[in-house]
Amino acid sequence: MTVTEQPAGYVGRSIPSRTGDRFVRGAGRYVDDVHHNREATLVVLRSPHAHARIVSIDTTAARAIDGVYAVATGAELFDEIGPQQYLWDLPGQKTGHGRPLTVDKVRHVGEPVAVVVARDQYVAEDARDAIEVVYQPLPAVTTVDQALDPGAPLLHEEWGDNVQVRAAWPVAVPGLPEPPDAGAALAGAHTVVRETFTTSRILATSMETRGVVCDYDPTGPRLTIHTSTQSPHQIREGVAAMLGVPENRIRVIAPDVGGAFGMKAVLYPEEALVPYFALRLRRPVRFTEQRDESFVASTPSRDQRMELEIGFDADARIVGLRARYLIDLGSAPSTCGAGTGWATGALLCGPYTVPAVDISATAVVTNKTPLGAYRGFGQPEANFPLERLLDIAASQLGLDPVELRRRNLIPPEAFPFTTATGQLLDSGDYPQMLDLALDRPAYADMLRERDEIRAAGRPAGIGIAFFNECTNFGPSGVFPLIGITTGGWDATSATVEPDGRVRLVSSQTPMGQDLETAFAQLAADRFGVPLDHVTVRFGDTDSSHYTAYASGASRAAGIAGSSLILAADKAVDKMRRIAAHLLEADPGDVEHSDGEFRVRGAGAAGLSYATVAAAAYQGGNLPAGMEPGLETLGAFDPQALAFSYGVVVALVDVDPHTGQVRVPRMIFGHDCGNQLNPRIVDAQIVGGALQGQGAALTEEIVYDESGQPGATGFADYLVPIAPEIPELDVFHTVTPTPFALNGAKGVGESGVIAAPSAIVNALQDALPAGAAPLTSIPVLPERVLDGLATEPAR
């Protein structure tokens, strides 16, 4: 990994993780570790059918079991719990019943039908199995084509069809010139390539499943909800609205979160059901999602099919792009709506200069689990078609794939650059990144190893893919235009305690991205105090300031980091004014350095944080009109998004007998602007790249024609395991964003975006020259064997 000069402060250094000590000792505290006296356990009965009418539900036997406290059906709860809200609410979107339990009809395997609350998980499952439901099965809609068939069964009869929402680009803006005509550009193009690409339905499968524990306090009553979420404030809003409980009586705590990857970004039915039963039974209630149900109850992602067409001029420069794509949304929008599908279109131009676009997206409903967010959020779905088609174009144009990309990458002098879909790209030097990747010693190793593998009689190939990643989500002013119903800013509060130590409370939620360490570094530098003088707290709506979007969309370092800086600066400024008062000096003459305040030019000893803080809290000797105390709030709303970017080069090694693919090496070049902690940045990339490898080669949830999912456990859902890891060479460039106070862009999602494209490009390179293009992920061994069986082109 590239060594850059060591910065003066803590920021930019690979400080070891603060969380390690508790994690390696087993002292982490996750939702399932939280227990309350008299707690009961909630279990959900889920539909075994993809599409069926509920004829009757008999809960008599379940209720009779010793230790069962409550059993309820959707019909019984319909008026008790209101409908969910939608974080992504695209113009014209249609919605389902929005209730935690369905009432008259089930629309996917796993849809909640009834609940049991009982003494423990064992008894609750006994009672769940004693509920008798009579279903009248209906024909299932399991593909997007079926859904769009005019004679298709309707999932939501009142919709009139199975289309949930549509979106299109370019978006004409009144007062601005008409967008260029992509149709004309393509018609006049020198070369046009087109292909249809599929990105399969996959699931984040965090190792910790979802879980909710709600304590009940008769005062009010008040509810304290521990839940495994990325967004505590959003959950509080959702629960309050659905249960009709004021937000100030609900406290949501996200304790240690055992992985989330976007899958825990939005509200789930159980987050309303658990507090509902805590209120109703006046006792604590818990829910722990079980692994089998997680495959039908937690939101999967991707699942798009795109027909993509790109035209080039005689110099192989892109003149226009047309895309028609379908999003298989599942049975109804989750709170995430068709957000991922929207992002695909909005970001489809990627890092390239695309003068004209004609993109249209259609989200359709099928009898599958509703789609949600997963690391990358629509961007891997855009990157795979784009980067594959560029490779296909390169061979058609007789150009090296690298050269084709170089000709079309947005040049550094063009930033800030507005794409044809209206996205403002803040900064970057894309061509430099490409060149650096090919200059890596690891690239020479890769070429040599490829030749060695081929010499040994096995197919091998190298593939490249470029990407940019939309991070630092996002400007609140823009959100309503793109269908998001909340604000995009973030908040940090900073307290200088009476002893002068610093305590931060962030509205973010750590879930593996080690914010605790990164934010401490940022704060220590800003306050000018030793790192161990800073503590950082998270994930509690009673102590952290409201933020809507919390941890998602790669926004912690830039957006929350900027709010932290604002909070710290306010605290330092207040201390400077107190110090000036105590030193009988003008605040403008008081310097702040190394955790002390001193009068500029005076040789005298300065005042320590402890001294200034003591005065702030004693309160009797403060500047006139100043309020006592030392707690400040910083809230930061970015002017614009920030786009990280990078390049992935992959080597594949194919077993010609079994069609199985290894990825022995990968090079990952990345730029996320200023890095708070390079160790964390690398960890995000390494972990993300392997998730991308899983998406490329092994992971998918396939539904059969009756709507049964093909994976309900790790036996069938093939996440990468240790022997499959590549030798990964990570390098960085640093192009700070002007739109965050610390110049940081996000990195959380970068790993997964282009890794599949690079691996599949490499795989295509390993196949005989005439082999049909690989257009779907994952690429399973049989597909590889088909490709290998191609007669070599002459």
Partner: protein, 179 residues
């Protein structure tokens, strides 16, 4: 009929509950459990050792790995009653009694062999067994280490930090043996 149940340390109750006793991380634990109670639930909810995590209840992920009489086991696939009178080591029992971390635990921190931390207890226990084997003379090449680590799933790290940490802890064992 001449059959006898396992002599229970307390009379079996109608629910089938019986008192199970174990040494958990060197401390005696006695608690009631039904025969169907799995060892993971017993450790987490009866013995208060929540460091052992469950994630799949099918033996695929290894998050719940503990040592039963010194040998690794899936505590989700072990009935608590099967571990009656056994010595159990959970992740909480890997460190020294004074709190000093094992070399593998330290190495996990040095190499960022974790992110969200949920699978970490399983890997700590898995690695602890491998290191014990190395102390007893076993040697592991990289391929064998990766095979051993394939017993458990991590979704965050891409395994790189875990592999490096275990390699470094094993190097130390080899160094000790060589010295």
């Amino acid at each position: 009929m001449t059959t006898t149940d396992l002599p229970p340390t307390a009379p079996a109750r109608p629910t089938g509950e019986r008192v199970l006793t174990m040494q958990v991380n060197g401390e005696p634990v006695a608690a009631l459990a039904e025969p169907r109670t799995n060892l993971a639930d017993f450790l987490r909810e009866r013995a208060g050792r929540t460091g052992t995590h469950t994630s799949c209840h099918q033996g695929w992920c290894g998050a719940c790995t503990v040592l039963v009489d010194g040998e690794s086991a899936r505590s989700c696939l072990t009935l608590a009653v099967q571990a009656d009178r056994a010595e159990i080591t959970t992740v909480e029992g890997v460190e020294d009694p004074d709190g000093t971390l094992s070399r593998f635990q330290q190495a996990l921190i040095e190499h960022t062999g974790f992110q969200c931390g949920f699978c970490t207890p399983g890997f700590v226990v898995l690695g602890t067994e491998i290191i014990a084997e190395a102390r007893a003379g076993a040697r592991f090449d990289r391929a064998e280490l990766l095979r051993r680590l394939s017993a458990n799933i991590c979704r965050c790290t891409g395994y790189a930090g875990i592999v490096d940490a275990l390699g470094s802890a094993l190097d130390h064992v080899t160094g000790e043996a060589g010295a």
